[in-house]
């Protein structure tokens, strides 16, 4: 393996992580939501609103931290609307989620177009603090050859996502609150009869999940250099992939890290297929002949296969929350 080929290969591994981490935010957020018994199909819209709000507020205060907090806040607000409609007002979760997606994209383009047409859209490169924190690397460790690049040269969002995923895993598995929340996802009536405040738990976890999705939206925006395109949204379908990933990861936020990388692998392959074919002509030469659309479709094809395989085995994934998608009306018990 010559140096150039090695360089391309390392860049490929690096890009997998950079491109796929927003998915992890969406997926972890959705797992938390589904585990507490709600199917929120509004990931795409929530990420769009969180992203655009976080970006604009972050830029105007010139701080990534404020940006992240704003993205979480606006994400959580979307979650609040969703939980008010589905938990308190018993609205259908599918329809509410789809509406959230439509609404979120509407808000994204409304704000984006309004600011862009009057020249007020913030430009990322003009905000030194944002750029600096975006490009900051872990000192010393990132200088180690190869490993430094693959493991320690990412922006803070990447590490934050992994930490959130692990904390969420520990929270759901080992804490009392996590146990109660999972109980609601399995059987809200039983949890209720044991004295768990079902409504409060649902609100908290839907909002928490949506807040995490919001950070993912901000990441997507920053990763695209904060540029607003009139026709395509930053999120561009990632919210839907995140919903697919939940199933692929088997409702486990720790597996979601791995699942994200698998999905990201295919997603990145469509960008790097010609480079890789060029670097390793003997082994990977065939890559350049595969249409990039297949790589784009693969995450969805794989998820579909996982869905079908799981249902054929008749053995439901024990992690799948049984009451997910069904509203809980106390007097129906």
């Amino acid at each position: 393996m010559n140096n150039e080929a090695l360089g391309i290969f390392i860049n490929f591994l690096f890009s997998i992580v950079v491109y796929s981490i927003p998915l992890l935010y969406g997926t972890v957020g959705e797992i938390i939501t589904e585990k507490s018994g709600s199917l929120n199909l509004g990931v795409e819209g929530t990420m769009a609103i969180g992203g655009v709000a976080g970006y604009i507020i972050g830029c105007s205060t010139n701080s990534v931290t404020v940006g992240i907090l704003a993205a979480m806040l606006f994400g959580a607000l979307c979650g609040l609307v969703f939980s008010f409609l589905t938990v308190t007002l018993q609205a259908n979760q599918n329809v509410t989620g789809l509406t959230m997606t439509t609404f979120g994209l509407g808000v994204y383009f409304f704000i984006g177009n309004g600011l862009a047409s009057s020249g007020k859209w913030p430009i990322m490169t003009e905000h030194s603090a944002i750029i600096n924190s975006w490009e900051a690397k872990i000192p010393f460790l990132s200088n180690i050859p190869i490993i430094g690049k693959i493991l320690f040269s990412y922006n803070i969002f990447v590490y934050l996502a992994v930490i959130i995923a692990i904390v969420a895993y520990l929270y759901m598995k080992y804490t009392k609150m996590g146990l109660k929340m999972r109980a609601i996802g399995e059987n809200p009536a039983a949890a209720d009869s044991l004295g768990v405040n079902v409504i409060a738990y649902k609100y908290i976890h839907i909002m928490l999940g949506s807040a995490i999705m919001g950070i993912g939206g901000l990441y997507m925006g920053l990763n695209l250099g904060g540029s607003f395109e009139g026709s395509t949204c930053w999120i561009n379908g990632y919210g839907w992939i995140a919903i697919a990933l939940v199933i692929f990861a088997g409702w486990n936020t720790a597996y979601a890290i791995l699942g994200t990388l698998v999905f990201g692998f295919f997603n990145t392959l469509q960008v790097y297929n010609t480079d890789l074919a060029y670097a390793f002509p003997n082994v990977l030469g065939w890559l350049s002949k595969i249409p990039p659309h297949l790589f784009k479709a693969l995450p969805f094809i794989i998820t579909a296969i996982v869905l079908v395989a799981a249902s054929i085995r008749k053995k439901k994934n024990p992690n799948e929350p049984s009451a997910c998608g069904i509203n809980y009306y106390r007097e129906d018990r």
Partner: protein, 383 residues
């Protein structure tokens, strides 16, 4: 349940607010609720528009009149409106069939694409040589049947293995989307869908034999597919009200176990109905490309998603779907017309308004299904 609880804890107060289910609301009240929801959305929209420095009344005037006023070619607006309305009507009616059985077909996008793609393929093969009526019939049938089978993937899996249909149809949407993008962006000898003269891959314009015929009324051309859409809607209305299959469908929707107990073959009913649903969506896709005279990767215009919203807003009532899809089309088409005039607002403003309207309707829906009892005289109950 409440009584026993009150007995055991004799000092528990009756709650201040109590929520009980009710059977439904009178139609007049329901309409009032919807009008209120639309007004609320319009008012919020007003504030948002004003904050962007756009005169909201001018915007709304343009939107609600779909750009007809002050236009040198007003008939073009009607034609554009019909082009948007026809697929939305068919797709919403079709989706309502599946939703009646609580089969969550959110795969309208994918089924529409498959219908359009197959219709486009057929037109590319026979469009030049065969007579027009034959081309049109084969395109429509081919697209519709292909979409029907595409939709059946989810329903057969659901019936055989219990696979979640919401997630399955969602995945199939994206697979179809990348399929049409593949055909639209891959230049090759076998790809007869593309324009041969262009070096860049673009879909070619259909042969004239594959164009949806129009009836000329002055300078306005009435698209035949609109009439067919109304015929389909009427047929579905009759199908649901008067036929045995329509009856079976509503029983399965109410309760699968009741249907099983009554000896109905529920699996077969689900597969049959979802096939019809997807068949009609594919038909709408075929009609659309035949009207637009070409394929496009954004062929659906989000009609699969909007259709879900329309069907739901209409409570799956076929006649209400006609009204709702006409109104939503005014909103969507009117917005693109108005947005063309105001640079700071784009056509996605329709999404925002649609979102607020639906949120308010979903919220108000609560009042139609539940009764809120506020108990001001909260007495301690000793029974």
């Amino acid at each position: 349940m409440n009584k026993t609880a009150a007995n055991t804890h004799s000092h528990v107060k009756e709650p201040l607010i109590r929520i009980v289910k009710r059977d439904g609301l009178k139609l007049s009240k329901l309409v009032l609720v919807y009008v209120g929801a639309i007004l609320l959305a319009m008012i919020i929209g007003c504030i948002l528009l004003a904050s962007m420095g756009v005169n909201p009344f001018k915007f709304y005037e343009k939107m609600l009149t779909i750009g007809v006023v002050g236009n040198a070619f007003p008939y073009k607006c009607f034609e554009g409106y019909i082009k948007l309305f026809t697929p939305l009507l068919i797709v919403s009616v079709a989706l309502s069939l599946a939703f009646r059985m609580k089969f969550w077909n959110v795969g309208g996008e994918g089924q529409f694409i498959v219908g359009a793609l197959v219709a486009g393929w057929i037109s590319a093969i026979i469009g030049e040589s065969a007579p027009s009526f034959l081309v049109l019939i084969l395109m429509s049938l081919g697209g519709a049947i292909a979409a029907g089978f595409y939709g059946s993937i989810a329903s057969v899996l659901k019936v055989k293995f219990g696979t979640n249909e919401t997630l399955m149809t969602l995945m199939l949407n994206y697979i179809a989307l990348y399929l049409i993008m593949f055909f639209g962006e891959t230049k090759a000898d076998w790809n007869i869908l593309l324009n041969e003269d262009s070096a860049r891959p673009i879909f070619k314009t259909f042969f004239e034999n594959a164009w949806m015929p129009v009836i000329k009324i002055g300078s306005f051309s009435l698209n035949i597919s609109l009439i067919i859409a109304f015929v389909i809607t009427a047929l579905i209305f009759v199908y649901l009200k008067k036929t045995k299959q329509g009856y079976e469908l509503s029983v399965v929707g109410d309760s699968i176990s009741t249907a099983n107990y009554a000896g109905m073959k529920t699996g077969r009913i689900i597969i049959r109905t979802v096939f019809i649903s997807a068949f009609l969506i594919g038909l709408a896709g075929a009609f659309y490309v035949s009207t637009a005279h070409s394929l496009s990767t954004s062929v659906t215009n989000d009609v699969g998603w909007t259709g879900v919203i329309v069907a739901w807003l209409s409570k799956l009532n076929t006649l209400a779907i006609v009204v709702t899809s006409a109104l939503i089309s005014i909103l969507r088409y009117g917005c693109t017309q108005a947005a063309a005039e105001f640079a700071s607002v784009d056509s996605h403003f329709a999404d925002l308004l649609q979102g607020i309207i639906l949120f308010s309707v979903l919220a108000c829906d609560f009042l139609t299904r539940f009764k809120v009892i506020i108990n001001l005289k909260r007495r301690k109950s000793h029974e």
